[in-house]
Symmetry: C4
């Protein structure tokens, strides 16, 4: 009889072993309003980043995704890299977050260890700051694992929070980074939480761009944000039609 | 004191070690409408396949099933084989899918490794394409892990999807197969999702039969499908009586 | 830094190492109507069984129980033994079933391995057959892992089932016993599922007593059952007062 | 390919290795009314205890907490120590309990093993005794793993329970302590369960102080309790306004 001992596993397929110059890790996994995911997808596409590793995990949703060409593929995460004038970047995003909390810790830990192999010492994650209402100019909030880095965010326009939580890997990654002697910061784009929100992604990237001195044209994302805003105003009209009470800031973050 | 370290286990009892000729693995585990399970049970019974392995897992529902002869037995999965003119087949089905998502990955992975020991390089899974409505002639959708195989499905009448997910082991098995260098394809039979649907199973097998050039008489399953259709029309009448709105295709797959 | 690898554990404290004569294992863990637990507690108390082992598990409910003397204690399971004229007995019961399904498999497996060390080859579990209605004379259903043992149950008055499931450890234990080359049988006492039901426990033990030729006086349990019946008739009156529809046998087992 | 085996882990960062004199471990993790957590935070602050260890676990909520200074940090637990005239103390509290039951066992076990390294033989946990109603003078209930210790609690004013459960680590820790040959006791402060209840914390500490002959001024906590009472009376007025039925003691403990 085969007696099989099963263990929880993460598989990392490594495609390249580049030597990188002071790389910064930028993470954005799917969450509320897809704020972080849209931003990362934009960076990957606009910066033409080079595939570095593909990650599979038994903790991802148990399903295959049908891609636009009709093919089926497991959920996966991807790390890619870009060489830049002001230091290199590692970009990390994926199809879905793990479906159990412990696996969120495990994978965050693993990705940080992997990034450390390339010399990463500073990590940025992007996230959503959910308020339950639509706004014209989304604010960007910032938090960091040390006061120096927090100050840098504030100097570039981020607002400081004094309570709350950032749930999921976009939060855990900076928390775990600190335990490993790395610096971590999270930029949170204000969003209603009701729709995919490229406008919040744009706001977050506009600030990140300044913080890391990244040379990137955000115009294409601005276009998507404008289209999103059309949808937003339609939804808002519908909403106003069905409610009279003013909404309050929920202050909920995810 | 006994201090017992417990591990998650899968047990595979192997009954035979046949040398097989280019075997193809065909999988159909219980899911919506029992489309895949009915199809596999039919193949096993009609092709008189020979038991190859029985699988038990701590991730199966924690219960014994009372069989028709009054005996009690653990939930199990079974792999059997058939020698055919156009290559041999491994058939894989079982009582129930694992009850936690990670175990679905683990077992899919294990079954593929086991099949690889017999030389399997191509894997077909069957599944349900749920629409929420009853149809006279269920469509069959196809997806594959590479474009060549997808084309083969289409040439034999399968419709292509461009989005969605296939949840559970009938999806995972082809996704994991691709990671192991095997080819995987899934055929999904259109079904309401409300009742056991041998008609969808028949539609799927009619297409599969052509794809893998399998010599099998589907008439007995057609009979079951017709009986199913009687039930369907009764249910439909009841449904029409209680609703006036036309239903829309939900496009939900499981 | 302490880095601690944690594993799922079961701890078995063994109090004695008796040499037993063809021992039979009788199991009854808490479930619907406490049918099995009441029966086992009665056997333990009436037969003055001797403690053999205490079992703790991380899969038990995460709590301490306050005992009647005001002390606090972890949930636990206990195995005790009795020497008898017609072979010895191992009795197995406990405070609660594990709270995750996989742990039910693990613990069932462990207890069977432990029992095998004492020479156990035949295992009986007790369970509830839930019907949703109160009855004067609860029926006893039986199932077994082989036809010979099933016949023995029937000869002593058990009714045969032809479908359904027995969920939890009272089912799993006999299913896993069969995989280990032991014989397993389950006796299920008919019960409403609404109240603790010593009457069903009495019915089950009356039949078990004949099957294993056990010399035991069930009168004290009959007394408890009669008290239970008083409660039952009160509840039934209340129920009749609030409903007019006759209830149907739900055929649900747990 | 990196193939990563993941294990459930607890990380304990140890800051100091003091030699302690007959130390007693006092635990209070967040639970109903924050009774235990408020009490421990008060002890830590008032006794100016010295950091001994910080604990991180993959079973903590998957999130970072934003601290009042705007920085982000993982959930954590902390053990600190105080040298006292009547023996030394280890104080144990944290941000949140583990989110899965098995991890509650694992961490309780680990913390007790760690405490044993410093010579701990007696463990006190604090908890809430939920009644669903506001009271002027909360009662304090006690339970212990042996009758001698229970008597000591009663001599100092604790009431004895004869049934019920204490759920979570504040219960498990004393249950597991007993298995390790330590003595364990739990003091439960009566609380409504509706609000943070420093008054219940004060009641519990007043009794604990006598039991362990601890020299501490509880006046600052009494102040907080009074402020809490103002809130309580407002809530009670609101409650009375919306209900006429008298409430009954729910006897629920957590």
């Amino acid at each position: 009889m085969h007696k099989v001992v099963i263990r929880m596993t993460i598989q990392i397929k490594v495609w390249d072993r580049p030597v990188l110059k002071e790389p910064i890790l930028i993470c954005g996994l799917p969450g509320s309003g897809y704020v972080a995911k849209i931003a990362l997808d934009f960076l990957v596409s606009e910066l033409k980043s080079i595939p570095l590793a593909t990650i599979y995990s038994y903790s991802f949703p148990p399903q295959v995704l049908i891609r636009p060409d009709g093919s089926a593929e497991l959920s996966k995460h991807e790390i890619s890299y870009v060489r830049g004038q002001n230091g290199d970047l590692l970009l990390y995003t994926g199809d879905a977050q793990p479906i159990n909390p412990q696996a969120e810790y495990e994978l965050s830990n693993k990705v940080l260890d992997f990034a450390a192999e390339f010399g990463v010492k500073r990590v940025f994650t992007l996230a959503a700051y959910i308020t339950g209402q639509f706004v014209k100019s989304p604010r960007v909030f910032g938090t960091a694992t040390n006061q120096d880095l927090l100050r840098l965010l504030v100097q570039n326009g981020a607002l400081v929070m004094s309570e709350g939580t950032i749930t999921g890997m976009n939060g855990l990654i900076i928390g775990l980074a600190a335990l490993k002697g790395m610096e971590g910061a999270c930029l949170l784009g204000e969003t209603s939480g009701y729709v995919m929100d490229p406008k919040a992604s744009h706001a977050v990237l506009s600030l990140l761009k300044k913080v890391i001195k990244l040379d990137i044209d955000l115009t294409p994302l601005e276009e998507r944000a404008k289209q999103g805003e059309v949808l937003r105003s339609i939804l808002e009209s519908m909403k106003k039609a069905t409610e009279t009470q003013s909404e309050k800031d929920l202050g909920y973050i995810s």
